[in-house]
């Protein structure tokens, strides 16, 4: 196998395959692991080589993300977060900002992206965090919740209101006025370092504001989230692959009523459902990534479709896998138990099922009405 992501995938396997269960139980990813993957460009693998990245296409980075997703949902969340931060910088930043931040993100620095607020989850228009340009400084004031990687982050990419619209600012996590509080007991992706972050009139050089400009909030969020949606979708495809492998092996080996579980028709139906979920997720992801790589304007809708197919498929598929494994998979740390908890979160983040359905219904009306 000489895929462009093979080396990165092998590195992730070496670091995570035997350790992921322990990371889940401890709720912590080792910094050394994050650093090693970071400096090798694995965490944001689409960053171009001239900024220290691997320069992978979306399709190849997707397969890498799915691979990491087969190993560890928490680590895969770090890839999503770091990749989304890098994409925000790449898309919104000036040449100078790209050089500075992308080099940091491929040099071991870790980044979280801060969207949600206590009063603004799916309704991001209710966002209250403000970015205010005062002379040659920008002041960040507000509170964000559930920032993935927040507890490990060196940089926080923060979306806030700016001049009647919205902007995006890169905040060093150690800047005066930043307070990071870890979410102590997340349901899933337990080691992904979810944190609530307060910004108490944090003053930064105006150059921290990406592109120095404001965009409509919806356009800004859609632009940044599209990367996250594709990444989450591939991660869910990976989760499904693990569930499929665990389930297929178990039902082939385990005997009940004198025959292998796989000889029972009801078990086969479950297995078929898992297979359909994994294949559909992979196909939808591949299409979204091809739109990304080819500059196809259908990208936005394709990303939402992939995210929705993959997240709902993974949540249902992981529940099926736990059912098939029975007591064998019913312990925390077990791959299907982790997938069961992690997949449920994937139905909530990067656009909940319901928000995705609203977007997809809009597409349906636009195409078919």
């Amino acid at each position: 196998m000489a895929e462009p992501y093979a080396e990165a995938a092998a590195l992730a396997t070496g670091l995570a395959a035997d350790a992921a269960a322990g990371w889940d139980l401890a709720g912590e990813l080792p910094r050394a692991v994050l650093r090693e993957l970071g400096v090798k460009g694995v965490l944001c693998a689409q960053v171009p080589p001239d900024h220290g990245g691997l320069g992978l296409s979306s399709v190849d980075n997707g397969e890498l993300t799915a691979h990491v997703g087969t190993l560890c949902g928490s680590l895969r969340s770090v890839l999503t977060s770091q990749g989304m931060a890098a994409w925000a910088v790449q898309r919104l930043g000036t040449a100078r900002q790209r050089a500075a931040h992308l080099t940091a993100l491929t040099g071991g620095a870790l980044a979280g992206v801060a969207f949600s607020e206590p009063g603004a989850g799916s309704d991001l228009a209710a966002m209250e965090t403000t970015l205010t340009v005062e002379g040659d400084e920008v002041v960040v004031d507000g509170a964000k919740v559930w920032v993935t990687v927040g507890a490990y982050a060196d940089l926080l990419v923060v979306i806030g209101k700016l001049a009647g619209q919205a902007g995006c600012v890169v905040v060093p996590a150690d800047a005066p006025g930043v307070r990071v509080t870890r979410v102590p007991d997340p349901l899933g992706c337990r080691a992904a370092g979810h944190a609530d972050v307060r910004f108490d009139r944090v003053r930064l050089p105006a150059d921290a504001l990406l592109g120095g400009t404001a965009l409509p909030l919806g356009m800004l969020v859609t632009t940044v989230l599209t990367y996250g949606r594709i990444s989450v979708a591939w991660g869910c495809a990976g989760m499904l692959r693990t569930c499929l492998a665990e389930a297929a092996r178990h039902v082939s080996a385990r005997r009940q009523g004198g025959v292998a579980l796989s000889e029972h028709q009801l078990v086969r139906r479950h297995l078929a459902g898992l297979y359909v979920a994994e294949r559909s997720a992979t196909l939808a992801c591949a299409r979204a990534s091809r739109c990304w790589d080819e500059g196809d304007p259908d990208l936005g809708g394709a990303a939402v479709l992939a995210k929705h197919v993959a997240a709902t498929g993974a949540a249902a598929g992981a529940a099926t896998a736990v059912q098939l494994l029975g007591s064998a998979g019913a312990r925390d740390g077990h791959p299907v138990a982790r997938a069961y908890r992690d997949a449920k979160l994937m139905e909530i983040i990067e656009g909940s099922n319901e928000i995705s359905e609203l977007v997809l219904a809009e597409e349906a009306l636009r195409t078919w009405a």
């Binding site: 790449q90 898309r91 919104l92 930043g93 000036t94 040449a95 900002q97 619209q165 990406l210 592109g211 120095g212 400009t213 404001a214 965009l215 409509p216 919806g218 356009m219 969020v221 859609t222 632009t223 599209t226 080819e294 500059g295 196809d296 304007p297 259908d298 990208l299 936005g300 809708g301 939402v304 977007v359 809009e362 636009r366």
Partner: protein, 92 residues
């Protein structure tokens, strides 16, 4: 310099015609070049991103940083000016 069709000179008329056709295909209605696409409610957040992706792939551009601002996408006329300016910068 690349010799792909994307880098051949384009005229304002050609850019305008392409954008009007794209908008008509997506919104199923004819659009005036000076219509405020956002104020009119014709362009959703999702569609705005699609417009950016379309401009980039149709005209071989990268629209990033300070150019990614609402005023550049508000009307077909504004987008046409943006495309011509960015192509000139890229060629220069």
């Amino acid at each position: 310099m690349s010799t792909t069709t994307n880098r051949e000179p384009v005229t304002a008329d050609a850019v305008r015609a392409d954008l009007l056709a794209f908008l008509e295909q997506r919104t199923k209605q004819a659009v005036d070049p000076d219509l405020d696409l956002f104020a009119s409610g014709l362009v959703s957040s999702m569609f705005a991103m699609e417009l950016v992706v379309h401009l980039e792939s149709a005209f071989g551009l990268t629209i990033g940083g300070p150019d990614l601002k609402l005023d550049h996408f508000r009307t077909v006329t504004a987008m046409t000016a943006l495309v011509l300016r960015l192509r000139e910068t890229a060629d220069g």
